[in-house]
């Protein structure tokens, strides 16, 4: 096996927590065993959860000194990181082989817990900031608001935000992502944080984007720009769908089915999987984000695909038999 689903690991983690509860009862154990017996994947997920538990074993004999160390060096690291300007995004990679700056859905959810404003699956949020600027936060997103006397700064930690800035000649309006910073020049624009890139769409006015290498580019209304920490592409035509979600609509203009399903999964709790065999099918049209079941039905009617609902929260999209 070289793949493991997010869902199995989540279930395994939940079981681990249940079983270590002092009040765990026999029926619970039996249900856990049934779950374990269900599939080799469950067993693999369980092994990893147990392995995490075992990692702590050598430390237990020195629990006081160890927790003191963990807590205290955590604090100093934060101050050190803040002094290392710009390094904040590079999560230290402890064990060899970890990818730097990864963005698994779980890490997103961790980011969301600690952010000022955040949204869960299927949730969008509208807010008016203290300067009168309006923002819309897309599903599974997290944003910090750092306004002070000199500047207005939004830190997008995960997901996507659409911004309608208010005028304030004294304070510049900045949006920061993992890859760089954007300065609004009186505008409406959206910023999306993906695994490795920032996606900027400008609908009114202009935005100046600068990545961590210091390369910058002014993006005009009607343009879109993709950039990473080390690279800045040439702007292309703006994508209207990056604004449509605010109205609860997913606009597909020659999107692939795989991309569309990924987008839909941000609005739907549970597991939504697209078979690679059909992931490249082109999709056109608009789909309701508030009713993802309806969106899936529309897709099924229009494309040579079959939608399997094993459970309501476990849906896979594959080729028609």
């Amino acid at each position: 096996m070289n793949k493991l689903s997010h869902a199995s690991l989540e279930q395994a983690a939940n079981w681990y927590v249940q079983l270590h509860d002092e009040q765990v009862a026999e029926p619970e154990r039996l249900r856990w065993q049934a779950w374990l017996a269900q599939s080799p994947e469950h067993q693999a997920a369980w092994r990893y959860v147990e392995r995490v538990g075992q990692r702590f074993a050598p430390l237990q004999s020195e629990s006081e000194a160890v927790s003191h160390t963990l807590r205290n060096s955590a604090r100093t690291l934060i101050s050190r990181r803040q002094s290392l300007k710009g390094l904040l995004i590079l999560a230290a990679t402890g064990l060899t082989g970890w990818a730097v700056g990864r963005n698994t859905p779980l890490l997103d959810s961790v980011e969301r817990l600690s952010a000022d404003l955040s949204t869960g699956t299927g949730e969008t949020r509208e807010a008016t900031l203290s300067d009168g600027s309006r923002i819309w936060l897309n599903a599974l997103s997290a944003l910090n608001v750092r306004f002070d006397a000199r500047q207005r700064l939004l830190q997008l930690r995960a997901g996507e935000v659409l911004i309608d800035t208010a005028k304030d000649l004294a304070r510049a309006f900045w949006v920061e992502t993992e890859q760089g910073r954007m300065r609004a020049l009186g505008t409406r624009f959206s910023v999306r944080q993906t695994d490795r890139n920032t996606l900027l769409n400008v609908y009114e006015g202009a935005v100046e984007a600068t990545n961590h290498q210091g390369k910058s580019q002014v993006v005009q209304a009607g343009q879109q720009l993709v950039f990473s920490a080390g690279r800045l592409n040439t702007p292309t035509v703006a994508d209207p769908s990056r604004e449509a979600w605010r109205r609860g609509v997913l606009l597909a203009d020659n999107l692939s089915l795989g991309e569309l399903i990924e987008e839909l999964s941000r609005y739907r709790p549970g597991h939504l999987h697209c078979d690679p065999a059909v992931a490249n099918l082109p999709v056109m049209g608009s789909f309701p984000l508030k009713d993802t079941d309806q969106a899936l039905r529309l897709l099924e009617a229009a494309l040579p695909i079959r939608i399997d609902k094993t459970f309501n929260w476990w849906v896979s999209v594959g080729p028609k038999a």
Partner: protein
């Protein structure tokens, strides 16, 4: 890894090793650590080969990896130091053996790396449960949230760590 990948890294090494070593030496102010970390940086590239778009891109990629390794290096030193400080106040007889200490420091580093990206309250709950074996109810009182919330925190922390464990084995989490 293909032969092409190996020669790619080889060329990368020839063109940029001196530059990278110098960069690290300035940052770490220690030539030996710098040599180690420069070496580790190329090992990383070997493990995950990719193609580059010109010399600037190559250097920026190397610098990014090296920066991550630097932070890691500082972090490790800091952990060791804090650990030694927390032992210093104790009489020699009650100190763990040197061998035990080596195991603890290594494990500390692993556990710390796992907990780093968790919110403070989540990692605190996880430490209390995993390290001190505290009942959920007591943890809830200590942190000041409901027992149900603690269970949520713990499941979240556990899943986060389990994903990292699985990725260490090269598994793809989808």
């Amino acid at each position: 890894m293909t032969v092409a990948d190996a020669s790619l890294v080889h060329n990368l090494y020839l063109s940029h090793h001196r530059w990278l070593h110098e960069l690290l030496r300035r940052r770490l102010s220690n030539a030996m650590d710098a040599a180690d970390l420069a070496h580790d940086t190329f090992i990383r590239v070997l493990k995950r080969p990719q193609s580059f778009n010109g010399e600037v891109h190559e250097r920026s990629h190397l610098a990014t990896i090296a920066r991550g390794l630097c932070i890691d290096h500082w972090r490790r030193r800091q952990l060791e130091q804090t650990w030694l400080e927390s032992l210093a106040s104790r009489p020699p007889a009650s100190q763990p053996s040197l061998e035990q200490q080596a195991i603890i420091v290594e494990t500390l580093h692993e556990v710390d790396a796992m907990l780093q990206r968790l919110p403070q309250r989540v990692s605190e709950a996880f430490i209390l449960a995993q390290l001190h074996g505290m009942p959920y109810k007591v943890i809830a009182e200590q942190i000041g949230v409901s027992e149900r919330m603690i269970k949520k925190y713990l499941a979240q922390a556990m899943m986060h760590c389990a994903i990292l464990e699985a990725e260490l084995d090269g598994l793809l989490i989808e």
